[in-house]
C-alpha cells in the first residue's frame, strides 16, 4: 500500500497526527486544491493509491471537483474530509457544513462508496474497509472544533517538497 497525501491549508486536516514520509505532499496555500491535486496524481499514477486529507472549508471552495471525481471514478482515489464545521485556521468562523452534509453531496456526485464516521470505532471500521476496496471513496469524519490547537509549519521548502515527492515516486 502506498499513500500520497495532499493535505489542505486548513486547520482540521493539519492536526491529524501521522508520520512524515517522502510520499506526503503538504499544502501551504492554494486553499481548496487538495482534491484537484490528488485527482491529477491519481490519474497520472493509476498503480498508486492516493489519499487526500481535506477539510470542510477547503472542499466547499472546489465542490465541482466532486463531480469530476464522480464522473472519472479513479479507483485509486480515497477522499477523507475532516469536518469541524468551522474555518479553524482563521478563528473558527462557522462554515456551511453546520447544516449541509458533504457526504450527501459526494454520494450525489457519484462516489460509489461514501461513509461517515463520528466515533473512533466507526473511523477504524471505515478506514479498514476503504483501504481494502477499490475507490473512488469518500469518508467524512466529523470532528470537534474545540480540538483545534496549534500545528507546526511544514518543515520543508515547497519546491524541495515537490522534488521529494517525485523522487519517492521514482521519477527521474
Amino acid at each position: 500500500m502506498n499513500l500520497s497525501s495532499p493535505r489542505t491549508a486548513g486547520s482540521a486536516a493539519k492536526h491529524v497526527p501521522h508520520p512524515d514520509r517522502a510520499e506526503n505532499f503538504y499544502m501551504l496555500g492554494s486553499m481548496g486544491l487538495a482534491s484537484p491535486i490528488g485527482l491529477g496524481l491519481a490519474l497520472a499514477r493509476p498503480e498508486r493509491r492516493v489519499v487526500v486529507f481535506d477539510g470542510d472549508g477547503n472542499l466547499l471552495m472546489t465542490l465541482g471537483t466532486l463531480a469530476m471525481i464522480g464522473d472519472l471514478r479513479p479507483p485509486n482515489f480515497l477522499h477523507i474530509v475532516f469536518d469541524n464545521e468551522v474555518y479553524g485556521s482563521t478563528g473558527a468562523q462557522r462554515s456551511a457544513t453546520a447544516t449541509v452534509s458533504l457526504d450527501a453531496l459526494a454520494l450525489a456526485a457519484g462516489y460509489p462508496d461514501v461513509r461517515r464516521a463520528v466515533t473512533a470505532n466507526e473511523l477504524d471500521a471505515a478506514i479498514d474497509a476503504l483501504l481494502s476496496a477499490p475507490g473512488p471513496a469518500f469518508l467524512l469524519i466529523k470532528v470537534d472544533a474545540s480540538a483545534n490547537g496549534t500545528a507546526p509549519r511544514v518543515p520543508y521548502e515547497p519546491d524541495a517538497l515537490a522534488r521529494r515527492v517525485r523522487a519517492a515516486l521514482e521519477i527521474a
Binding site: L28, L33, I37, A42, G64, M68, P158, L169
Partner: protein, 179 residues
C-alpha cells in the same frame, strides 16, 4: 492531419503528455480533436484553478502537463498559479485563448482582455503570443525553457491558431518565477 491534430502532435513531440483545461470557444476545434482521441486522456476541469491543481498533481506523478483556458479563467487561476505552481516550482504550459485582446470583443472580455498580459507579468510568467509562423518555434522554445529552467511556470498565450484566424503580435519575456 488537421491543424488541431498537428498542434497536439507538436506538444507531444515537445514532451507534454498530460492535458487538462476548461473549455473555451477559441479552442473548439482542438477540444473536438481531444474528444475524438480518448487515448490522449484530456481531463475537462470544472474551473481553471482546479485545472492548475490537477496539472500540479500530474507533475508530482511524473507527467508534463498542459492547461488550456480562456484568459478570463487566468484571472480565476491566479491563486493556484501564485500560491501553488510558483512556490512549489511546478512546470506547466498554459495555453490561453485571449478574448478581448484587441478591444473589439464583447463587453465581458474588455477589461480582462486588456489586463491579460499584466496578469501574466504580475505572476512573473514568461509568455509567447504566437502567430501562424511562430507557433512551432514558440512551442519549442516554451518546452526548452521548461527544460533548462526546471520548476518555473511557463505560459503561452495565443488566439485562434486552430481556427485559421489571423494572429497578431509576438512577444517574449523570461522572468524568474516568484519564490
Amino acid at each position: 492531419m488537421n491543424r488541431s491534430a498537428t498542434f497536439i502532435e507538436m506538444l507531444r513531440e515537445a514532451g507534454f503528455d498530460f492535458f487538462t483545461g476548461v473549455p473555451d470557444s477559441t479552442f473548439q476545434p482542438l477540444l473536438a480533436e481531444f474528444s475524438s482521441r480518448p487515448d490522449l486522456g484530456y481531463v475537462t476541469a470544472v474551473s481553471e484553478n482546479v485545472a492548475v491543481g490537477i496539472a500540479t498533481g500530474s507533475y508530482l506523478g511524473g507527467r508534463r502537463p498542459v492547461v488550456f483556458m480562456q484568459n478570463s479563467g487566468l484571472a480565476l487561476a491566479m491563486n493556484a498559479l501564485g500560491s501553488l505552481a510558483a512556490i512549489y516550482r511546478i512546470p506547466m504550459l498554459l495555453v490561453i485563448g485571449w478574448r478581448g485582446h484587441d478591444g473589439s470583443d464583447s463587453p465581458e472580455h474588455a477589461l480582462l482582455g486588456a489586463a491579460t498580459t499584466a496578469l501574466l507579468d504580475a505572476l512573473r510568467l514568461p509568455f509567447f503570443v504566437p502567430d501562424a509562423e511562430s507557433l512551432v518555434s514558440d512551442v519549442a522554445r516554451a518546452a526548452q525553457t521548461l527544460d533548462t529552467q526546471p520548476g518555473r511556470a511557463r505560459s503561452s498565450a495565443g488566439r485562434e491558431w486552430c481556427a485559421d484566424a489571423p494572429l497578431r503580435r509576438h512577444r517574449r519575456r523570461v522572468v524568474e518565477a516568484q519564490r
